[in-house]
């Protein structure tokens, strides 16, 4: 989507980049430049005028000669006057950090395992060629491929799904998008059983097949909420306390009333769909997250830990 507004630094950056492209490839239509750089034609014209208006007033020298008649007709052409500028500066450290981190992230995803182009570009933009660890096993690539094909063909999937309580079900899903958020893949799709958009964690899909049937009209009209945890029904509010290191737990739930205590711990409330799933989310932090209330939530976490130590049939201790 072309952006309508641009700040001074981005306009400066765009002007430098247009100089590089036009001096390299020759005259271009402003509408093609708009398409290429992802801005509106109006913004492209502003950037070209920035180039045109560059003048050393002390020496009475113009840096670039822009053909303004052609610009009126939608064509961008200029030649370098006194300018030594031929291309934009190399990437700044911040730009490199941003792109390299994004590429690191992609390299850890199973669908990019063995992607030569990704290794090549990572060796150019500073993160080395080898992903340090994979965020998911390569087997998930097969699941992803089936989903990607269904997304492109707009066809329905039938999936075996295990929810966070371990309950298994068969779902007919109209796939809408695949998100990778934080460290997990989610299939965002129209669930035909619930008649609503739902998020399905890919590592909980145990089998998936493309039915080759077209997706429903309801799915085509559906909006996909930004947050993967979506709308909860019958949610329970749980008060928790987390150390600074474990504060990321608040990012995984709708959270509110967040405060910091004198020791730097974070206290706040989260909303959970089902208490039974809380045990795993809290336990992973090995005591760095503590449930304060309600007592039923405290007991759930305790039971999860007891099960883990002694197996699911372990009775609660009598102390």
């Amino acid at each position: 989507m072309p952006k309508q507004e641009i700040d001074a630094e981005d306009l400066f950056n765009l002007s430098l980049s247009i100089v590089g492209l036009v001096l390299k490839d020759g005259p271009m239509l402003s509408k093609d430049l708009a398409e290429h750089f992802g801005f509106s034609e109006k913004t492209i014209v502003r950037a070209v005028k920035t180039i045109a208006n560059s003048e050393d007033i002390g020496r009475h020298e113009t840096h670039f000669y822009v053909d303004e008649d052609l610009l009126e007709k939608g064509e961008v052409d200029f030649s370098a006057g006194m300018a030594a500028l031929r291309r934009p500066p190399i990437l700044s450290k911040r730009q490199t950090t941003a792109l390299a981190a994004g590429l690191d992230f992609l390299a850890a995803l199973p669908q990019f395992v063995g992607n030569t182009a990704l290794s090549e570009i990572r060796s150019q933009i500073g993160s080395g060629t080898t992903p340090i660890t994979a965020l998911a096993p390569p087997e998930r690539q097969a699941t992803l491929q089936i989903i990607q094909r269904a997304l492109l063909e707009k066809t329905q999937l039938v999936a075996s799904y295990v929810n966070q309580l371990g309950e298994k079900s068969e779902r007919i899903i109209d796939p809408l998008r695949v998100d990778f958020v934080g460290r997990r893949h989610y299939l965002r799709g129209w669930c035909n059983s619930n008649q609503a958009v739902r998020s399905f964690r890919l590592d909980r899909i145990t089998n998936v097949e493309n039915t080759d049937k077209p997706i429903s009209q309801a799915a085509q009209r559906a909006d996909i909420p930004l947050e993967v945890f979506g709308q909860l029904e019958n949610e329970i509010t749980v008060e928790i306390q987390a150390t600074q290191e474990a504060s990321e737990i608040f990012w995984n739930f709708p959270a509110f009333d967040i405060q910091r205590d004198a020791e730097g711990n974070i206290i706040g409330k989260i909303q959970v769909g089902n208490l039974r799933a809380l045990g795993r989310h809290v336990s992973r932090y090995a005591g760095q997250v503590r449930v304060l209330s309600p007592s039923s939530a405290v007991a759930t976490v305790r039971q999860f830990a007891l099960n883990a130590i002694s197996g699911p049939s372990a009775p609660e201790d009598q102390d």
């Binding site: 560059s54 500066p89 911040r94 792109l99 992230f105 492109l152 145990t206 600074q244 989310h281 305790r302």
Partner: protein, 317 residues
């Protein structure tokens, strides 16, 4: 030809300043040369106003990756002795630097992963610069995939800024044994590994990795410049981390057909081998699966998890 009849916009001022500095002789320009060349400076009513505007522009240029150098030359009168020029290399893309359509698609996806968060603007402006290297078509295959990075740690922004400005920073870092200490480091790189942000930084004479999660104070940026670090040193540190991870292998017994089995991509043998970067973080990932996983090795990981369960019980008594 165009004359600057109207007042210059801030973007025009930055662009003109860059062009004037690029066209400067080897000996650079004095501040007076610059003030006499760029219309916006010339139009300022006072010297103080000119200086302020120039200071702001110098920082803006540096942030955008235009490295401005200042040096003294005795060949000029005192008022003109401080000389400004653009550092060699600021505009020199490596000759081997080539970007194909496929590379560009991956970079677009990498930038999109920022999803309007912290570094989204920098990623986008970097993409614009890279697009000046050639024309590319947009992708169909990746369009239905939306990767989204999370960079919600408070320390992220000041560290990214310090990497840009090359300044020293100071923060409190708490290791997994609970002991925290103040670290003064030169931040070099932020990387996303195993779903966690990792800072590569030089502390004293060593390059180390710091998990952003374990930074437990505000990051304070010093006025002092960081220690110079060569690309070779960074490459070596990164190669060491890769070797370290390759040697960190856990053997797990996983309940067949359970959630953990699907998560880790289990096989018929019921045991799997997984590489990990940080034992404590890996222990967290395993504990989420409760009784479904048993650690066969290393013993330290198994012990850590057992202690972890006891801590959960102690805090939920």
């Amino acid at each position: 030809m165009s004359a600057s009849v109207n007042k210059q916009s801030p973007a025009e001022r930055l662009f003109t300043l860059t062009c004037c500095l690029m066209a400067a002789p080897v000996i650079g320009l004095s501040k007076n040369d610059i003030f006499g060349s760029v219309a916006s400076y010339a139009e300022q009513a006072s010297d103080t106003a000119k200086e302020k505007m120039f200071d702001r522009d110098k920082s803006a240029l540096r942030e955008m990756g235009v490295q401005l150098e200042v040096f003294d030359s005795t060949s000029f009168e005192e008022t003109d002795a401080a000389r400004y020029r653009i550092a060699k290399g600021s505009f020199d893309w490596p000759t081997s630097f080539e970007i194909t359509n496929e590379h560009m698609r991956l970079l677009e996806l990498a930038a999109r992963a920022w999803n309007n968060q912290l570094l989204s603007k920098s990623a986008q402006s970097g993409l614009i610069r890279l697009r000046s290297l050639g024309v590319v078509a947009s992708s169909r295959e990746l369009s239905a995939f939306t990767p989204r990075l999370l960079a919600q740690q408070e320390s992220f922004a000041p560290l990214a800024d310090a990497i840009s400005s090359g300044k020293l920073v100071r923060f409190s870092y708490r290791k997994t044994d609970g002991v925290s200490s103040v670290r003064e480091v030169t931040p070099l790189k932020l990387r996303f590994i195993e779903g966690q942000w990792v800072l590569l930084a030089k502390q004293a004479d060593q390059i180390k990795n710091f998990l952003l999660r374990r930074i437990v104070s505000q990051v304070k940026t010093s006025e002092l410049d960081g220690k110079p670090v060569s690309v070779a040193e960074i490459d070596q540190a990164e190669a060491e981390l890769i070797r370290f991870v390759a040697n960190n292998v856990a053997v797990l017994e996983v309940e067949m057909d359970g959630e953990a089995w699907w998560h880790f991509g289990g096989n018929d043998s019921g045991t799997i081998e997984v590489n990990f970067m940080d034992e404590a973080l890996f222990a967290e990932d395993l504990m989420e699966f409760g009784p479904e996983i048993k650690v066969l090795s290393p013993e330290s990981l198994s012990n850590r998890i057992n202690v972890g369960w006891q801590q959960v019980l102690d805090t939920h008594a």
